[in-house]
Symmetry: C2
Subunit: 447 residues, 2 copies
């Protein structure tokens, strides 16, 4: 009987990595998590699914973009008449956070500072370079009734620290762009614009459409007069590496309370970020963020050398996170690293650290089957001392054992004594330099 062989193929949009790449990915996760925890953010994880109506409630706020991308899940052999809530895979970590915060409100301590690093799913039509399953790494802080601007400044400080030190990102120049929506919205109000939502949506397209087209859209769809358009476009050109942006806003000659509030908040944030190398953070008033629920500070992050790649880390402040679920006002501020997109870019540029397939530091040679116990005991001693140690799995030819260590990228090979005579001693070989020297498993340390 011949068997049917079908070589499996990758599923478009669902990436997976070889072990050496997965090791680098873990290194990134550990790195990000370490810094999030250094700032006192606590971890949570939510289920991969939410009730569909919870995801949909969000969809309405956002127009139709996200709603279309939801993956629903269903039991393959669901019995007729099974009454169960429809479930769908979450498409971000903000909707689950809102639901989580409301559900566990009485058990949480506020301001609630949490980080979350999970897979999310978006059922987009398959296309090159778009992931349908990917990781996001989010930090958010949720307050009750109020939330100090302290946290608006802490977000980019943390993100800068994370991104600037990720292994493989050393040569990438990134820039965190910050604005405050109160400035633009205040200005639009001062200019007498009534359809503010639509106006901000148009202005948000400034990085995709030519200025002229934005001008026409504002004029035709919002009915903004020529001078008003010019003022708004002038605001959007303001960029500064510190709080000097403020004067340029006031130079527009129009101000109101909301604008002043926005300027003050953004100034505070910029002042708090003075320790970041110049150009790492900018106040950039063209940043709007499409999502309607942002009400103050907004963030985007770009590669300086490749601004068209899009934002790799975005977020902002929202006035009320969980208004659908709870009768309290829960303002928040958060930011999300588009982990998989960023990681895959660095992987494709071959900038990831070159790691071996194996996490073992040392492979212990098994001189022969009857020296198995001695080899295991050497490995045990070394493991107790904190090393990752693999014992070769059989007493086969030395050449074969060495080849295995080399192919797996294990940096050291340990030779335990070949007999108990006392003449054969422990030796260790550095696979990079080729040096071999006697060593004691109780005291050996890495060069």
């Amino acid at each position: 009987m011949s068997k049917r062989i079908t070589k499996p193929s990758p599923i478009s949009g669902f990436p997976e990595w070889l072990p050496q790449v997965r090791r680098a990915e873990q290194m990134w996760f550990d790195h990000i998590r370490t810094i999030f925890e250094q700032y006192g953010f606590c971890p949570i994880e939510t289920p991969s699914v939410e009730a569909l109506d919870i995801l949909n409630a969000k969809g309405e706020d956002e127009g139709d973009d996200v709603d279309k991308e939801v993956y629903v899940i269903e039991r393959l052999h669901k019995e007729d008449g099974d009454k169960e809530a429809r479930l769908a895979l979450h498409f971000d970590q903000t909707v689950p956070l809102a639901r989580y915060t409301a559900q566990h409100y009485n058990e949480l301590v506020f301001p609630f500072k949490r980080y979350q690093m999970q897979r999310v799913w978006r059922g987009e039509r398959p296309q090159a370079g778009r992931f349908r399953e990917f990781y996001q790494c989010d930090i958010d802080v949720i307050g009750v009734d109020t939330l100090p601007a302290h946290f608006d400044a802490e977000m980019p400080a943390i993100i800068w620290e994370v991104l600037a030190s990720l292994p493989g990102m050393e040569d990438e120049k990134i820039q965190i762009q910050i604005s405050n929506r109160k400035i633009l919205i205040g200005l639009l109000q001062a200019l007498g614009v009534t359809n503010i939502v639509e106006a901000t949506r148009i202005i948000d397209k400034l990085d995709k459409l030519p200025e002229n087209e934005i001008r026409s859209l504002l004029n035709e769809q919002i009915g903004m007069a020529h001078d008003a358009c010019e003022t708004v476009l002038k605001l959007a050109t303001i960029k500064a590496t510190d709080s000097s942006f403020a004067q340029r806003v006031y130079d527009l000659g129009i101000e109101n309370d909301m604008m002043r509030e926005g300027v003050e908040e953004l100034s505070f944030v910029m002042d708090q970020l003075a320790h970041i190398p110049t150009g790492g953070v900018v106040a950039d008033l063209s940043i709007v963020r499409g999502l309607d629920y942002y009400t103050g500070t907004v963030y985007e992050t770009r590669f300086v050398d490749d601004p068209t790649y899009g934002s790799i880390c975005s977020g902002g402040r929202y006035d009320d996170l969980a208004s659908n679920y709870i009768n309290r006002t829960l303002p928040g501020v958060g930011i999300s690293i588009g982990f998989s997109r960023l990681f895959d870019r660095i992987r494709q540029k071959q900038q990831l650290p070159a790691l071996g397939i194996s996490p073992a530091d040392i492979m212990v040679i098994m001189p022969s089957e009857d020296r198995r116990a001695a080899a295991q005991s050497t490995a045990h001693t070394l493991r107790q001392r904190g090393f990752n140690v693999e014992v070769f799995h059989s007493g086969s030819k030395l050449k074969r054992q060495m080849a295995y260590a080399e192919k797996k990228g294990i940096p050291y090979v340990w030779f335990p004594p070949f007999d108990d005579s006392g003449e054969s001693k422990h030796e260790i070989k550095n696979m990079t330099t080729g040096e071999q020297a006697s060593a004691d498993p109780e005291s050996w340390t890495r060069d």
Copy 2:
């Protein structure tokens, strides 16, 4: 306009934890991963989904149990005519491993030792205590053509080390039960039984049904004679903490090549595990494992004080992992920790380490808004030295700041100088003992 408030409720079978519990869960993952890596296992992750036909291929081998539990995923707004493979969430990590190994065969180094710690999904009917989304932590080794018995012994050695040292498991007595299916299958062959698969399935029920019922089933469904039944049941009573089980098998008075092979393999495994405290590992010939693809060593793990809780960690050896996908014979051996089930048991018994909500070691007091820079700078110094440090977010009343640190479970509170006079000094308060003493951020260490 009044808003409609709907307090969200948990989704049955999809657990989520408060931050302090999630922190303990992370501690467990870190612990398990550390030990897996200490033995040279490399990490992989596979997508959450597989093509449905890949999951189904497995389902057929296993009877109808698993197939019924599969969750398919579908885009909510799939357009008519979209031709896409049907995808489903994986229900274990073995089927994805088989697919992964075949797909990346040419890029892997064999024996391929990998660990995998991911969520899996089973769409069972909702019932108390059953998870539909849960974590498994697997190690497997895959060889090409052959795979040394070394690895059959390494699996329980690693699992023992992991389970015995998980925080919160200190007082739990666990036992890894090991058998080798060749012994039972060899015996059934020697007894002239033809329907071996069905016979092993019946014998596998020994822990659920009374012996008499097993006897009747073997007689009625397999047509086994009285004496043959007695011999099989006698084999199933053999238990030993070392390789002394072998003599008791031979004492049955029936043997053939397959039985001898099984006895030798199991003896080798038991001999290699002599370092484990007595009773931690037993050769237990009642262990069969239901899954047909196991062909040699099989493992289960039980709480000694609560054997009816079922196995918390199981696995075994299979002759050929990926025969559907590749024209090579890929034998393997693996074991899987039922992480979420184990974790939830220890959580419910309130044995998890008591962790604070926050991962911060220290909260730095902000004496007043105009001392913000000084507080931040103190925090920065402490972070550079490896501490997790939160700065209180505003210069509010000291009492409020202290209450926050206490509620979040932050063990130390740092008081930076209240002014630059030089008279006010840094101090640190140990929140457990209440002691407060002067300290230098450049040199302070934990008691």
